[in-house]
Amino acid sequence: MKNLSRFVFNALLVLLLSFVAFAQAQDNPWEQLDQEVVIVAPYPPGGSVDLSSRTLESALQDLGVSARVVNRAGAAGVEGTYWTTEQPSTGYTLVMPGVPALIFQPLVEDVGYTLDDLEPVAMWVRASFGWAVSADAPWETVEDLLNYVQENPGEVSFGSTGARNPNEWLQQRLAEGLDSEIVYVSYGGGGEVIRDLVGGHIDVAFGSIASQLPFVETGELRILAHADPFTEDVEGVPGVPPMRDYVEGLVSYNFFGLLAPAGSPDEVLDAISAAVAAAAEDEEVINTMTDAGLTMSYLDGDAMREVLIEVRDEFATPFLAWVEEQ
């Protein structure tokens, strides 16, 4: 029943909005959009990007913008992103890649595109990452852990997703900053890392706070520090300190936003960006994203470009040098 009434409500809302649109034409910038907005989610259905893009899709539809999500998975986001850069620059085909596919992968190898082939349109949400240990681990605070790592080089094992990628690089920089060594264990997905942490096979897990939080609630895990560059206190884990306070520069970026093929018309992109900004205010959208452990962080195209360039320039050279070394 609840869903039926919601459906009726939404339908009425759309109807109402279209009347309002008719009455005061061009009042909302997105009303000039006359084609379907296609959002390419370059990952398989079911993940964070998929959920984020689908939430955006329905929020856009509520605003009267016709929108559709298309999953084009492959090579950890690279395939779908590349496909988007090859599409005509109408402004109506957009992609929502994660930071690794958008910035790091093109730096490591020739994937057929670079950041310059894409035009940032709007930042949508970001995921916060953190370091968690098992509840019966001897370390109560991040200082305990760091001191132990410092005194016992090569003993503590850190698990995270991927190898020779920003996740491993971050853990190795942590060890370097402490002038010590760690054992890094790579995994295919975040779930596996947590399973091995709970099972006592690894000591520390680095991953999204969203995936760790449920286990903190059951008392199986403890989050010691976070890697969010934008805030002191991450939502859901108040009092957990940022790692950058202990080891300089230890931050991790992962945010999802829309980008269009370079050369897309500004009017269309601005209109879509305005619609995304409006969608980001929606109460229901905020709830869905918070439940999934994501923080709303709308930025317009220009501001998003600044963040992207900052991440690329600040991390590109040292990261590439590190990959070369491996």
Partner: protein, 514 residues
């Protein structure tokens, strides 16, 4: 999770309404159709329906997903038996036996066995999920890198040792499978391997194009070849009615109890583990049931017991697949991940507390899983009839159309044009295997287990920090290594016996070359 009768009764009432049952039925119909079409996997079907979930009430949405999942998992067997073109990866295990029966004019028998076995395995697995999910779920985290390395090593040994008559050919096939699995980006180190600078190979060789190439295309070529020969020599031959197809008798079904019970157990166990999935389950059940079968010689030449084992194992992954998701909040497979996402869309956050916090949702899921089985039986029977009628299509139209569907399905699988290239490459390989009469099963298994074994081995080696006793540091790990050792010993003894037997039979006269 304590049992909560009030919640249970209210859930019961909400499910036995018109809408959820209709959605369940609809899901099954769509699912069996998707499963029967080569290239369209259960995962794809469930993923396509995910967006619809948001617009439906919880019961109907889950009913739709469960129906599609179970229907598609069964549906693959229909085309595997009828046209030797497996609709799903997991149904490749029954291609040989099912198609052999089909060629003998026993299509209905094979299909009924596949259907009844699927339902049996599925129901068993659902009951396990419902009754012992909690204790089973608690075991999952204890399988760390060392234990998994042992487990995968044991299953590899069992399979290579026990499939096929010729161990040397089995090893060759397994070697090829390992090699194919290594192509692409290595998960543990991020290095590209054996891509020869071809960008399309970076993502590796995907399961669906590989299996369709290995099984379906060579069969299609062989069929076209055979029908051309038939036309030249015989004009009209007896292929239409060699023996009556009386379907499956109750005694025949129960006679396959060994296959059914092994399939149900193996499928349920493998389904509950993170990673391996239904294809591995059906192949393992096939290999194991051949070992305990009263008629192991029939395997590969139209054994209903083989079909019973593979198909029950295949569908028995359906229920247990959800164990890690429900008890631990972490999906063990892509499909379980989609179920998790579907529940999240409905406002049910997935995590280790879902069973305590949302008993109504969990009961709904359980009841729908059980309810889907009898409905799957009904829908499956209807579909079998529909597909059997495809017989009447002339061969010169039928096989090219299947070939076309195979290519389209491969492309549809993940919209990658390069997958079609992989399909064609695999088809060449499959033809070679046919010519040299090498079994494809070890190849498929090595391909599936190879990467799992490798990543857990590398992880374990890092964690061992040079101490190799780490590999036997837990009772679970120890058991796995002992099991592998026993399999190898049993193989050596058995092999000697076979050699002795073949020496005596060689004296008797000419050996039967299959």
């Amino acid at each position: 999770m304590g049992f909560e009768p009030d919640v249970f009764i209210s859930v019961l009432q909400s499910i036995f309404a018109v809408a959820p049952l209709l959605y369940l039925l609809g899901g099954l119909i769509v699912g069996i159709g998707i499963g029967a079409i080569p290239g369209l996997t259960p995962l794809l079907g469930v993923a396509l329906l995910l967006p619809v979930m948001g617009a439906l009430p919880l019961q109907s949405g889950l009913a739709l997903l469960i129906g599609t999942y179970k229907g598609a998992t069964f549906g693959g067997s229909i085309t595997a038996i009828k046209f030797a073109t497996p609709g799903t990866a997991a149904s490749t295990a029954i291609v040989q036996d099912g198609f052999a029966l089909s060629q003998k004019g026993q299509t209905v028998k094979a299909q009924k066995m596949a259907l009844y076995a699927s339902i049996t395995g599925d129901t068993f697995s659902d009951l396990v999920l419902i009754l012992v999910a909690v204790p089973l779920g608690a075991i999952a985290p204890r399988f760390g890198p060392a234990e998994l390395t042992g487990l995968f090593f044991a299953s590899l040994t069992l399979i290579i040792v026990f499939t096929g008559k010729d161990p040397a050919k089995g090893l060759i096939a397994a070697g090829v499978g390992f090699f194919i699995s290594m192509i692409g980006r290595d998960v543990s180190t991020g290095v590209l391997r054996f891509t020869f600078g071809i960008p399309g190979l970076r993502a590796g060789v995907a399961l669906v194009p590989l299996l369709l190439g290995l099984f379906a295309l060579p069969e299609i070529i062989a069929q076209i070849h055979a029908s051309a020969l038939r036309k030249r020599h015989l004009e009209k031959d007896a292929v239409d009615a060699p023996g009556e197809d009386r379907g499956l008798s109750g005694r025949e079904f129960l006679g396959a109890w060994r296959g059914l019970s092994i399939g149900s157990l193996v499928g349920t166990f493998i389904g509950a583990l993170p990673g391996p999935g239904s294809t591995l389950a059906s192949y393992t059940a096939y290999a194991l049931s051949q070992q305990v079968s009263a008629k192991p010689d029939e395997y590969g030449h139209g054994s209903t017991e083989a079909i019973a084992a593979s198909e029950s194992a295949n569908n028995a992954t359906c229920g247990s697949n959800l164990i890690p998701l429900l008890t631990f909040g972490i999906p063990g497979s892509a499909i379980a991940g989609i179920f998790g996402a579907a529940l999240m869309i409905q406002g049910v956050p997935m995590g280790p507390r879902v069973m305590t916090d949302f008993p109504d949702v969990v009961y709904t899921l359980f009841l729908l899983l059980l309810l889907a089985n009898p409905l799957n039986l009904v829908v499956g029977r209807v579909f079998m009839g529909v597909y059997s009628n495809l017989d009447k299509v002339p061969v010169i139209i039928l096989w090219p159309v299947i070939a076309l569907l195979t290519v389209i399905g491969t492309y549809a699988f993940q919209s990658r044009p390069f997958d079609v290239v992989i399909l064609l490459g695999a088809a060449v390989l499959g033809c070679c295997f046919r010519i040299f009469n090498i079994s494809l099963a070890p190849l498929v298994l090595a391909y599936l287990i190879g990467p799992l074994f490798e990543t857990s081995l590398l992880r374990a080696l890092r964690l061992a920090r040079g101490d190799y006793l780490y590999f036997v540091s837990s009772p679970i790990a120890m058991t796995m290594w002992i099991l592998s050792a026993l399999a190898i010993i049993a193989f050596i003894i058995g092999n000697r016996r076979i050699r002795l037997k073949s020496r005596t039979s060689a004296v008797d006269g000419e050996e039967d070359a299959s």
